[in-house]
Symmetry: C2
Subunit: 250 residues, 2 copies
């Protein structure tokens, strides 16, 4: 099973990093060899796994550094990280100017599936050059969607971009799943958005949802994924469900 | 009083659009002539004000279109909008390649302070060319910060970028205020983040905070600002307070 997954949505704050970190951690705990690539200049996935200082980063892959010189172990068995750096923000500009630079990550990850059964790429909140590089490198895209109006609105724009990538540099790219996050079924808004997404996108939408759970928001300040921070929380249960469903979908 | 304010934070989903739309609407209701410029390809501020279709957009300002051919009235007296379009995403790439393009918005807004007492620019969740153009055009920056860990982490990176803009193309740029959003004083996380931000940034932080309020998340699906959607809600009271404090700060 497995594969290379971009976790992407240009809408900000929908749970991309939370999903990338926690699905990766749950699969690693289940014995899968997992690589998490942080491609966001904010480097939230890096700090969310408790990594403070590191020599190299995903930026070095742009200069052709081999993956195994950049990937570092985390405190969690089976979970390896390519950390990010703030300097990635500058790379977005230079990427836009280099020809065929959109495939730098695809090249860096070539052959990595022999070492890792699952590879996740945490994307920044945009459809710029860094996200394009992730979409070119990925086989599938996981799209977290917060159960609120603005996040719903952005879904169409994202799916159009995926279609362009499919027609262009990466014909193999498919939607691995749309994941509803920060679900609060007590509110009408959340229920309405969930109903609309399931109606519009039906089987593309994960059956599992991630409820709004304070433990998920607390875990990053401790630099730990949810299965290490609050194993018995609703948030942990949800991400174990998502990870299980993902294994079934691939 | 008044001035040109960029509403910016590269962290996604912290309440930039919600703050830009609602502070603009509250000031307009108080009789100030307000212009809201949507510079985000997601065009959330545009749909948040109920504007569905429009001929021109902030992208046309990049081609030198005069402001008064692009700015359109909204349903709310004293509130004028420069709508956004998804095509702005492509502009970010071409902006990066043109010399001195970072001042296209500053040029377009030259003289606009004779017509509008307050001008707000809603920025995308990045520190890329569109946000740089907004920071070059602005006199002050309003920084919404969600009371959660990842948002706190990003604050230092943002303030460093502001310093670079001040040393470079816009020496007059200052921080107009840091606004704590989605505050939920029942949770320890929110209280801890609030305490840390106030301690680190003291008088830069608005005394007024914006509580987490479902009405604020519902309003955009009705295309109305909070003072029109739920005038008696905590969310509306908070944004009237923020607007009032902003007038006092300028
Ligand atoms: N299910 C949840 N319940 C409660 N809080 C959550 C949940 N998922 C994410 N969060 C919190 O919401 C905020 C946004 O989530 P996150 O940073 O993962 O989104 P993102 O899409 O990666 O943001 P960005 O667009 O900035 O990259 C974070 O503070 C996170 O801790
Ligand atoms: N105080 C609040 N209480 C409850 N919900 C809020 C509040 N402020 C904003 N929201 C909701 O949270 C989500 C994120 O807010 P918003 O879109 O304004 O952030 P943003 O920083 O503009 O995001 P982006 O980075 O994508 O531009 C939206 O669904 C919005 O409706
Ligand atoms: Mg993120
Ligand atoms: Mg916004």
């Amino acid at each position: 099973p497995g594969g290379v997954f971009a976790v992407s949505n240009q809408k900000g704050g929908v749970g991309k990093t939370t999903t990338a970190v926690n699905v990766a951690a749950c699969l690693a705990e289940a014995g899968e060899r997992v690589l998490l690539v942080d491609l966001d200049p904010q480097a939230n996935a890096t700090s969310g796994l408790g990594i403070r200082s590191h020599e190299s980063s995903s930026l070095d892959l742009l200069d052709g550094a081999p993956l195994d010189t950049v990937a570092i172990p985390t405190a969690y068995p089976n979970l390896t990280l390519v950390p990010a750096t703030g300097d990635l923000a500058g790379a977005a500009i230079s990427l836009a100017q280099l020809p065929a630079s959109e495939s730098f990550l695809a090249e860096a990850l070539r052959g990595a599936s022999r070492t890792y059964s699952f590879i996740f790429i945490d994307c920044p909140p945009s459809l710029g050059p860094l996200t394009v590089a992730a979409l070119v490198a990925a086989e599938k895209v996981i799209v977290p969607v917060q159960c609120e109006y603005y996040a719903l609105e952005g879904l169409t724009q994202l799916l159009e971009t995926l279609e362009q990538i499919r027609r262009g540099p990466n014909p193999a790219l498919t939607v691995g799943g749309i994941l509803l996050t920060m679900v609060d079924r007590r509110t009408r808004l959340s229920a309405d958005v969930e109903a609309e997404v399931r109606q519009a996108f039906s089987s593309l939408v994960f059956a599992a949802v991630v409820p709004r759970s304070i433990r998920l928001a607390e875990a990053p300040s401790h630099g730990t994924p949810i299965n290490a921070y609050a194993r018995d929380s609703q948030g942990a249960a949800a991400y174990f469900d998502v990870a299980g469903e993902l294994v079934g979908r691939v």
